[in-house]
């Protein structure tokens, strides 16, 4: 056990040696402590108020120091006290921690107890994902009613009354509308496109909106059809919007949605409210556009073609602008593009869901997969 030497020499060099010897001794004794009883002896030896080493330091070193060395000795003694206290505290921690914590060991491979997390509906998650892509490109969000008038759903989108193009829409009509003029008759919107007109009525150009929403068609339910589905529509109108801009915008959006290596391909289609009109395909993200998963197996996702048809789009037809011309939409000076995509279909593709009905039954076992 360490005993505190008396000091004759209070020079800095001598003090340094004495302090170093004391701390070395404290560390040696500390490392020898293995149990509680030994710790108490060790602690008292160094820190007991009565005759502990630190108390002795006060008496033998500090008080004995000549006047001119008092200040230097005082500083050293303070540092030394802190050091010894830390050594003692570390010893205590080591002694008390060891065996009792070991007895508290748990099986960390047992399953965790989970607080339940609600799952986002895959359609709404996908819808939000698409909307955010366009928000980042400067599009504002617009919404509209699900029960629409003939005017907004058809007439102002260049579907004249009795036009064959209306046949393709499988419209669900609200009862009791017979006595109204055709344009005021109510129906369930068959697409989110009516919000194009509603937006242009409210806002002069330039316009950039993205329009998410629920739509309905008179389609019997099966694995790939639902009378209820969701669309995201987009509209951009300005003095300088071109078909190239439409292509670039959708190419960018599809890369954000499906990954930067997908390619897009545009081919002519027909929608009454756009001219030119196009359908857009993306290269299949599953097989990389080859139509094959490997040397022997074809890719069913893209029906072996390497391409997936995903959305419709086009340059806004001048006739559509004609319905809002008084609000600054002169088709001679402005131009625009519009596009629309089916959220259900995109969600099915993204997650490999094979039955659209699953979206509308609230089956928790299905929904939980999207938490």
């Amino acid at each position: 056990m360490y005993t505190l030497p008396k000091l004759d020499d209070f020079s800095p060099a001598a003090l340094d040696r004495a302090v170093a010897a004391l701390i070395a001794a404290a560390e040696t004794e500390s490392s020898a402590v293995t149990n509680d009883a030994e710790f108490k002896i060790f602690r008292d030896h160094w820190m007991a108020r009565k005759n502990g080493i630190l108390t002795q330091v006060n008496d033998l070193w500090l008080k004995a120091a000549p006047k001119e060395a008092k200040k230097d000795v005082g500083a050293r003694v303070n540092a030394l006290k802190t050091a010894v206290e830390e050594i003692v505290a570390a010893a205590e921690k080591r002694i008390t921690a060891g065996p009792s914590l070991e007895s508290q060991r748990i099986d960390v491979t047992l399953p965790g107890i989970k607080r339940p997390l609600g799952a986002e509906h895959p359609i709404i998650r996908t819808k939000n994902e698409i909307v955010r892509i366009f928000q980042r490109m400067g599009y504002s969000v617009a919404e509209g009613p699900e029960i629409e008038t003939d005017y907004y759903n058809f007439e102002s989108l260049n579907f004249p009354p009795n036009h064959p193009a209306r046949d393709t829409q499988d419209t669900i009509f609200i009862a009791g509308q017979e006595n109204k003029p055709q344009r005021d008759r109510l129906l369930l919107r068959t697409h989110t496109s009516p919000v194009q007109i509603r937006t242009m009525e409210k806002q002069r150009p330039p316009v950039r909106v993205v329009i998410p929403g629920k739509v309905h068609r008179n389609d019997a339910a099966d694995a790939s059809h639902s009378p209820i589905f969701h669309q995201v529509e987009g509209l951009a109108v300005d003095t300088n919007i071109t078909f190239s801009d439409l292509k670039g915008t959708l190419d960018h959006a599809m890369k954000e949605l499906f990954g930067s290596d997908v390619k897009t391909r545009f081919y002519p289609s027909f929608f009454p409210f756009t001219e030119p009109s196009a359908d857009v395909q993306i290269s299949c993200f599953k097989c990389g556009g080859t139509g094959k998963l490997n040397a022997t197996e074809g890719c069913r996702l893209c029906k072996y073609s390497g391409w997936i048809e995903l959305l419709g789009c086009g340059m806004v037809d001048p006739n559509v602008f004609g319905f809002v011309e008084s609000n600054g939409y002169d088709p001679k000076t402005i131009s625009g593009f519009a596009f629309g995509m089916g959220v259900d279909r995109i969600a099915m593709l993204k997650y490999g869901i094979d039955d659209i009905q699953l979206f509308y039954h609230g089956d928790v076992r299905f929904l939980e997969q999207f938490a």
């Binding site: 607080r115 339940p116 609600g118 799952a119 986002e120 509906h121 359609i123 928000q135 490109m137 400067g138 504002s140 969000v141 009613p145 699900e146 029960i147 064959p164 193009a165 046949d167 009509f173 609200i174 009862a175 009791g176 330039p206 950039r208 008179n218 019997a220 339910a221 009378p227 209820i228 951009a236 300005d238 300088n240 919007i241 071109t242 190239s244 801009d245 670039g248 915008t249 391909r265 545009f266 081919y267 002519p268 027909f270 001219e275 030119p276 340059m315 006739n319 004609g322 011309e325 002169d330 088709p331 131009s335 979206f359 039954h361 609230g362 089956d363 928790v364 929904l367 939980e368 938490a371």
Partner: protein
């Protein structure tokens, strides 16, 4: 529609293989849906958009091919012998507004029998039904060049003439499908001297059809008004190849050539032409030429298409182009341009082909240029934008509610918008919006409430074996009602519904949904509702028991923010649960989302954390059941103790030595000051005041 690429090659000498051709056609907007077979027997299944009725036949597609590859298209021509004699068969058009042109040809001494040769072979490939050589001839010409024609048995036409007129009240016509149809005064008919013999442009008559006995034939090739044909086809619910084409606009100029092509095929089995074709033109069919500007094409498309390419695309598609320096008049563009605007001089004046009724404006010409040039040859660019980006506040508020519900463990669901009428009425006092053409009786109305859909989803889950303790759902969506029953005017609102089993609210699979823990289930649900509502700015949030009758009367509440009702929640009425065969206790909450999102979200506000200790005081009292917790807190708050921080029901106990109709409450009140340590004497004073307030509610203090 099926198309033979082998037949196409007879019309235009393309050199690519059929699969490449299919790809190139599709990229030009003439969609080949699938390709089957090989070599000469390759068949395309086409998906032609409804506007392109001109391309719903071989010749029309061949014309597209000639434009895509810049190849010559073979002209349509029929080889016919010189006619004998003179046809004496007048055709009178009484309704020139509906029948612009009617071309006829009399053929005598025909042999009716089975088709042979190219007709038989091509029909087999294209899966076209064989009927007899005369009917087959009309169908062959339809497949070949798209013009619907018809063959009458000449000897069955009374009075040796045809009249194009409206149907008359009381008239009937047995059509080729064997159905006796009542004619309408709005139906355009082909009639002989005495009776209708065809529903114009839709279907021929039974009595005048070609039979094995037919000796003499009249061929008809007419042009009918699209709207008139559509009206008649819809009224009689007939959709034929002919009506499909006439509704979308046939080629009026092709009446003579189609007649000749049909004659040519019939004559192959015998017979002779009697006289020249009868070609009655009731009305001129003039279409205004359209101006085309390079600059306009560039403005819309983003790049210039060279004059050379413009000219070849337009000419191959059958448009007649006159460059401006030759054109005698610079015509103005016909699309909705404001009068008085000075037009830039056109680069071309374009005459429109008679088969392209879908093309009538400059923008339509620009589309033709773009699609034959190839959509994918245009660069991908992003437009600049100077407008502002606006995110509606309502959207942020809805998203906040959604994220709270998700974090509370409710799964987001979407149920049907449609509902059985009776079901809708059970959960809403509003007038129900009914559907004129519902998918089924169970889907005959629009939902007026989200509750029935929620109950259906819960029931689906229970029936399909979802563990009851996991059934926690919410749905946000529109509900609909009539705001004006007389005019059937509707309104729709944002609504939100939460639904869960009692077990799921307790988040504990082992706890049964028994009556004894109803209070805990209710209070947990209430806690969730409070979490939602407290995220909105408000002065007061209060609850009472005024709820609709589909709730359990003793276990449901109404929530009000600043006096506005924003939610009903609680246990579903057990009778309704029984009716719906729900064997679990079900809890639901309806939020008036539209009202809620009118309120701003609560903005966070900082108050300095107190550096002084809080002091708790417990009060043990017995109360009558009629003294609600709300009354207790109101009484204490009325003391206006500035240092009062919270009032918590630490323990509620009924039964044991507590008499029936009463309950024992251990109330924990916390005091704290932000600027000093509370003194014992002031806390003691407040405690006395609180005890007095509780006694004034009839509470009996219990010793602990």
């Amino acid at each position: 529609m099926k198309i033979s690429p082998h037949w196409l090659r007879e019309l235009v000498p393309y050199t690519v293989d059929p699969r490449q051709l299919a790809e190139d056609l599709t990229l030009a907007g003439i969609a080949v849906e699938s390709v089957s077979g090989t070599g000469d027997t390759t068949i395309y299944e086409m998906d032609i958009t409804t506007n392109r009725v001109d391309a719903m036949n071989h010749y029309g597609i061949a014309r597209e091919i000639s434009a895509i590859y810049d190849l010559n298209l073979k002209p349509l021509a029929a080889k016919l012998p010189a006619p004998k004699g003179k046809a004496n068969f007048p055709i009178e058009i009484e309704v020139p507004q509906f029948c612009t042109r009617f071309t006829g040809q009399v053929i005598r001494n025909v042999n009716i029998g089975q088709s042979t040769g190219r007709v038989r072979k091509r029909f087999a490939q294209l899966e076209q039904k064989l009927i007899n050589n005369a009917a087959d001839a009309t169908n062959y010409v339809l497949l070949e060049m798209g013009k619907p024609t018809h063959a009458f048995d000449l000897d069955k036409l009374e009075g040796s003439k045809l009249i194009i007129r409206m149907g008359r009240a009381g008239e009937t016509l047995k059509t080729l499908d064997g159905i006796e149809r009542k004619l309408h005064t709005d139906d355009v008919v082909v009639a002989d001297a005495n009776k209708p013999v065809a529903l114009a442009g839709v279907m021929g008559g039974w009595d005048t059809m070609i039979t094995a006995e037919t000796k003499n034939i009249l061929i008809e090739s007419a042009w009918w008004d699209p709207a008139a044909i559509r009206r008649t086809a819809r009224r009689h619910a007939i959709h034929t190849d002919a009506s499909h084409r006439f509704e979308r606009g046939a080629d009026w100029a092709s009446c003579p050539i189609s007649t000749d092509l049909v004659s040519e095929i019939i004559l192959e089995s015998g017979g002779e032409l009697e006289g020249e074709k009868i070609d009655v033109i009731a009305r001129d069919f003039n279409r205004e030429p359209v101006s085309l500007h390079h600059a306009e094409a560039k403005r819309i498309l983003g790049k210039e298409i060279s004059s050379n390419e413009v000219e070849h695309i337009m000419r191959r598609l059958g448009f007649k182009l006159t460059p401006a320096h030759i054109s005698p008049v610079a015509t103005t563009v016909s699309t909705g341009r404001a009068a008085g605007v000075i037009e830039a001089p056109a680069d071309y004046t374009v005459e429109l082909p008679t088969w392209r009724l879908d093309v009538e404006r400059e923008i339509d010409l620009i589309e033709e240029l773009a699609r034959i040039h190839g959509f994918n040859k245009f660069a991908n660019t992003l437009p600049g934008f100077t407008g502002a980006v606006v995110e509606p506040e309502e959207a942020q508020r809805k998203e906040k509610i959604r994220s709270i519900l998700l974090s509370l463990g409710y799964n987001e669901a979407i149920s049907s918008t449609f509902i059985a009428k009776a079901d809708s009425q059970a959960f809403s006092r509003n007038a129900i919006v009914e559907i004129a053409n519902p998918l089924s009786e169970e889907a005959s109305a629009m939902r007026a409430s989200l509750v029935p859909g929620m109950l259906d989803m819960i029931s689906n889950n229970l029936n399909r074996g979802t563990e009851p303790s996991k059934i926690r759902l919410f749905e946000s969506g529109h509900v609909y009602s009539l705001k004006n029953v007389k005019n059937a005017e509707t309104e729709e609102h944002d609504a939100l519904c939460i639904g869960a089993t009692a077990a799921a609210i307790l988040e504990n699979g082992t706890v049964g949904a028994s009556a004894s823990n109803g209070a805990e289930v209710f209070l947990r649900l209430k806690g969730d509702i409070e979490s939602l509502l407290e995220s909105f700015q408000h002065q007061s949030l209060s609850f009472d028991t005024d709820t609709p009758n589909y709730f359990h009367p003793g276990r449901s509440a109404r929530a009000m923010l600043d006096g506005t009702t924003v939610a009903h929640f609680g246990q579903l009425h057990p009778n309704i649960a029984t009716t719906r065969k729900l064997k679990q206790d079900i809890y639901i909450a309806e939020l008036m989302l539209d009202k809620l999102i009118e309120l701003p979200l609560r903005s966070a506000r900082y108050t300095r954390l107190s550096r002084y200790p809080a002091v708790d005081r417990d009060f043990s009292f017995m109360f009558e059941d009629t003294i609600t917790f709300d009354r207790i807190t109101t009484a204490i708050r009325a003391l206006r103790l500035a240092e009062l921080q919270s009032i918590e029901p630490a323990e509620i106990f009924r039964g044991g030595n507590v008499p029936a109709g009463k309950y024992s409450l251990l109330l924990r009140v916390t005091f704290q000051s932000t600027d000093r340590t509370l003194r014992d004497d002031e806390v003691a004073l407040w405690s006395t005041q609180i005890a007095e307030a509780l006694k004034s509610l009839g509470g009996a203090q219990r010793t602990q």
